[in-house]
């Protein structure tokens, strides 16, 4: 298939950036989106041009590194997939594909399609973990956990921290990411111990980092490659109110 790519090129975080058009011929519909970009980059290198910079790591849909805004949607047109798991058969011969980086004040562009998502690490540092001395491994059934809670926590823990929720949100809010972490830990007995402080600290940091406010639009839930649900945001709000009162 032949494609026209409209790709965002930006030299560094301070330069202005602009769209550049590229034409690719005879792309195999079975290659992945990142492989398609690899082919483009090989051609660019052979023409002595700068290759397009983009984030990627596992290419298995589990690390959350790949992060590209494709035709108005984070991770492109497929449901529940990361860019590395998106295949060119989801596009048509002759398509124009608009390719942009995540855009948010808290995710500054490093170069081209690569953005700095360390604000997520900063958020996790504010308490997105459990700091108890675990000692030796306890017997599996010493702490009983309700099955529903275990399932809810497990689903929330599926977040890979790719930032698609922030990218999709019209307000660039990080509520789904933080919500997933908060409700994952708040649903389990081990996480309850620090639940109050965790939610207060993480929400305060979220505001300080310049993420937007949640208006319950739900774009995050639609675009999340791991299917994290908005119920996590509701849970975050509940935990936050409880810890404030």
């Amino acid at each position: 298939m032949d494609l026209k790519l409209k790709i965002w090129r930006q030299k560094d975080s301070r330069s202005r950036g602009r769209f550049v058009n590229y034409f690719l011929r005879e792309i195999d519909p079975d290659c992945s989106f990142l492989e398609m970009l690899d082919i483009l980059n090989e051609q660019l290198i052979s023409r002595n041009e700068e290759p397009v910079v983009f984030d990627h790591e596992c290419r298995e849909g589990i690390c959350g590194s790949c992060s590209i805004y494709i035709n108005g949607r984070p991770h492109g047109p497929d449901e529940l997939t990361t860019v590395c798991q998106l295949h060119m058969r989801k596009f048509n011969h002759g398509d124009t594909i608009v390719i942009e980086p995540w855009r948010a004040r808290s995710f500054p562009v490093i170069r081209d399609l690569m953005v700095d998502r360390s604000s997520f690490d900063t958020l996790i540092r504010e308490g997105g973990y459990i700091s108890v001395n675990t000692g030796t491994a306890p017997d599996a059934n010493t702490i009983p956990v309700n099955r529903d809670d275990a399932v809810f926590a497990m689903d929330a823990a599926a977040c890979i921290g790719c930032g698609a929720c922030v990218a999709a949100c019209k307000n660039a809010s990080a509520m789904l990411f933080v919500g997933a972490k908060i409700s994952h830990l708040a649903s389990l007995p081990q996480g309850r111990v620090e639940a109050r402080k965790r939610v207060q600290d993480m929400v305060a940091m979220m505001d300080a980092l310049g993420f937007g406010n949640c208006t319950n639009t739900g774009a995050c839930e639609v675009e999340c490659p791991k299917g994290i649900k908005m119920a996590n945001i509701v849970r975050l709000n509940r935990e936050y109110l409880k810890s404030t009162l």
Binding site: N213, C214, T215, M230, A231, N237
Partner: protein, 207 residues
């Protein structure tokens, strides 16, 4: 934001009940008496201040949040918003603008005139009432008023269909068990409010 919203949602129901008196009773004095009671009762007077406070809180909070949200994405996408999410949630600030414009007309039309004279008066059992019922009926015999009024309530409906359930999410109430209930309530409430308010000019105009 959400609390002020729910407060306004409740108030709308009260307002609707009183408005419906105009078309439910042939005797215009029923509505006039209700309006008179609302205008001269100390409890209602206090509530009035609370209501305006609630409205202001809702508006001011919305503006602050909206500005923060714009700042959170300094550079827009060139091709954006292709996620299939609830349609009206993306236009809350826009529908709010239309509603606010309507409120300005509404206040200058009825509220201020009731407060500062100028309204026609009618005497019943020795008490002087403002004859709002006749005024409402006169107004809604004119097509432009009917159209503006109905349009405003359609926009209010767009605002409510998202706002109602969103408020419960923000308050952390909507968990998996209540979610379907709240979603259904949200639709029922919006339909009742929009249908109720728009029925008034329609009934009057076509009667």
């Amino acid at each position: 934001m959400s609390l002020a919203g729910i407060f306004l949602i409740l108030f709308l129901l009260v307002h609707l009940t009183i408005n419906l008196l105009v078309i439910l009773f042939d005797d215009p004095m029923v509505y006039n008496r209700a309006a008179h009671f609302m205008g001269n009762n100390i409890v209602i007077k206090i509530f009035e201040i609370v209501l305006i406070g609630g409205l202001l809180l809702h508006v001011i909070y919305a503006l602050i949040l909206q500005v923060q949200n714009w700042i959170a994405r300094p550079r827009r996408y060139s091709k954006a918003n292709f996620s299939s999410t609830s349609f009206f949630s993306k236009f809350m600030i826009h529908t709010a603008g239309v509603i606010l414009a309507f409120l300005v007309i509404h206040f200058s039309d009825f509220y201020f005139r009731a407060k500062f004279g100028h309204a026609a008066e009618i005497v019943s059992d020795g008490v002087v009432y403002h004859d709002f019922a006749t005024e409402v009926i006169d107004k809604f015999k004119m097509l432009p008023f009917v159209i503006i009024y109905i349009a405003a309530f359609l926009f209010l409906g767009f605002h409510l269909i998202h706002g109602f359930q969103s408020a419960f999410k923000t308050l952390g109430i909507e968990n998996n068990r209540y979610a379907p209930v709240i979603q259904t309530l949200s639709v029922i409430y919006t339909v009742v409010v929009v249908a109720g308010f728009t029925a008034i000019p329609l009934v009057i105009y076509f009667m």
